[in-house]
Amino acid sequence: MDETEGGLRQGMRAGAPISLASLLLGISFGVLAEPVMGTAAPIVMSAIVFAGSAQFGALAVLAAGGGAGAAIAAGVLLNMRYLPMGISIAASTEGGWFRRGLAAQPLIDAGWAMSYRGDGRYDIPYMWGFTAVNYPMWVGGTALGVLTGDMIGDPDRLGLDALFPAFFLGLLMGEATEGRRGWVAALLGATIALTLAPVTPAGVPVMTACLAALVALVPGGDDS
């Protein structure tokens, strides 16, 4: 139990500075979603879907006049990367099938990447803590954006769409890429994603980029 609490607290500490970015991006989602989806739906969406890229993707479809089916399809594709990510944390979850499934729900890109402890293990409480401080900011930000959208105008004008790539770069340069193979996987992943982006629906590029991790199976080289 002590370990769980310690992990939770560490995750919350690590997630706190990032929650500011979640707030700003949440505001930006609320501002853009309100004219398309109304007042309540965007806030409920942030509260129960809680997946930034999928929400922006589905919104873009709706905003362009697409139906619910197309919007859901876009969101599902953007969320597809959670499938391999979920598999990766499976061995680190505990309890019966319901608790395991529940343990995976706070899965988000940043918290997942930062909770990796090597050797196939993830610090699940750390991941929960990371999400616990970001969740209210994302949902609250969405509400704020919905309610104050008229005053804010176009959120991209403020450079908010540059926040998360910059953050992910920090994660990538940090612990995620110890050893040469990490950089090879990163370079390969980015190449796959950019090659596919013009010709596949959104979401497919990042999902397919997971295959870059298979370079781990190439024999030889400097194994770390």
């Binding site: 890109d109 920090g170 590029p205």
Partner: protein
């Protein structure tokens, strides 16, 4: 129900399953060694792909270089000095992207 609400609940159902299916189906059985090594590299691969798509593609998936690339470069410059300065780096990215847009 409007298209917006159908989308909200449709995505809710699918994301819960997508995240949970791995842990539910696999349990905590020990993963085979090769799979562990693949998982080791999953984060760099996904993070790099997210950076690439989030910076160099537009809403249609076309490759572009715009204010976001300048923002990413600013963040990279901050990390080159100090890898731990994440807040400073993302702040620099947003401000740089906003400035480039204001000028362009």
């Amino acid at each position: 129900m409007t298209a917006a609400w159908v989308t909200v609940f449709g995505l809710w159902a699918t994301v819960v399953v997508t995240k949970g299916i791995g842990p539910v189906a696999l349990g905590n059985r020990e993963l085979p060694r090769p799979l562990t090594k693949v998982i080791d590299l999953l984060a760099p691969a996904i993070l790099a792909a997210l950076i690439a798509v989030g910076t160099f593609t537009n809403a249609d998936g076309d490759l572009v270089i715009d204010a976001r690339a300048a923002g990413l470069a600013a963040a990279a410059a901050v990390y080159a000095v100090s890898r731990k300065s994440i807040v400073l780096a993302i702040g620099a990215a947003a401000v740089t992207a906003a400035l480039v847009r204001a000028i362009a």
